[in-house]
Symmetry: C2
Subunit: 201 residues, 2 copies
């Protein structure tokens, strides 16, 4: 199978998103089993939410929905053997993590970095907006944290993330995780299996 014809699935995720955490932790094993290549696409939901009149997560705007989400996450995480604790504040500011993940995607350490950030945030209770937290994660991956933090703030990298977020809006993405297979959107960790099947068809 050539690379051009290999089935691929875009994984659009937001570091502040609880359900994106669930997908990030399992997507590589499922994709390998399905013979599908994953394209990791970090995105910021903030601008997308603001465009529809929200100034924070819908789980904060609608308390009944937020309370339910925590319980739903607790049950799903427990069933998968994952720790879960809602971080404080919620949602976390994911800007710096997303900028770093964009570099990691090009350089091959994006998936490992992404999972480590999610674990720090939703299992470890760390604040992922902090340079110290992100720098520690990069170091543990054997990377040059100072250089990467500096590069992530370069104008061209900032611009790449803005473009990626605009691309998400143009695709009609309104939440995370969202999977894109052959031009079709699949929203939510609940749709990961269906999206992989669509990509592989």
């Amino acid at each position: 199978m050539t690379s051009a014809s290999a089935p691929r699935l875009e994984f659009w995720y937001e570091f502040a998103s609880t359900y994106s955490y669930l997908s990030a932790m399992r997507i590589e094993a499922l994709a390998a089993a399905a013979g599908v290549t994953i394209v990791w696409k970090p995105v910021l939901l903030g601008p997308i939410f603001r465009a529809q009149g929200w100034d924070t997560s819908p789980f904060n705007i609608y308390p009944a929905k937020g309370k339910y989400m925590v319980r739903d996450m607790e049950r799903l995480a427990a069933a998968r053997g994952l720790p879960f604790k809602l971080p404080s504040p919620f949602p976390q500011n994911s800007l710096h993590a997303a900028r770093l993940a964009l570099i990691g995607r090009t350089e091959g350490w994006g998936p490992a970095f992404t999972r480590a950030v999610y674990e720090a945030e939703f299992a470890g209770g760390a604040n992922i907006s902090e340079r110290r937290v992100l720098g520690g994660i990069l170091k543990r991956l054997g990377l040059d944290s100072e250089a990467l933090l500096a590069r992530s703030e370069a104008p061209d990298n900032k611009q790449r993330l803005r473009q990626q977020t605009e691309e998400a809006q143009e695709l009609g993405i309104f939440g995370a995780p969202t999977f894109l297979a052959k031009g079709e959107l699949f929203w939510g960790d609940d749709r990961l299996e269906q999206a992989l099947a669509a990509a592989g068809k």
Copy 2:
């Protein structure tokens, strides 16, 4: 197993809700296989949505989400061999159908009536706010449609539906379908299997 100890699951549904249609069509077979008794609870989401500042379905307020929902429903319905077409107008006014379903729950024809209403609405393109449509469904079930339509408008029955909707709000229900098993909420057709497992434990 005595009736007191028989596992039970409350199925809170809204006649205007697309995903409630999916659950209504499959819940009895799944519940029978799991040995769980279903308690059918028709509810109006209108007052619940208005309490959080919405004057229509979130699928109308947020067009990207609405467009996605239709595609998601098309895929799920196709996979299950169900027809699906978004009715016009959407959402339908479900007040009269819900009042009738409350009577049907007491008299034993609630599940059959509920499925017939969903089929008329989402497969047949009928407007379920019309007495003519609801009366036709009642007749086809061998029921006295004129008497039932009149009884459904009696003050005590109207009050029962208001009370049931208030009960939903007190439970923290914010969307449909929602399943209640042993005091825990499970939201969405995607959680039906999990809810049945929780009820049967």
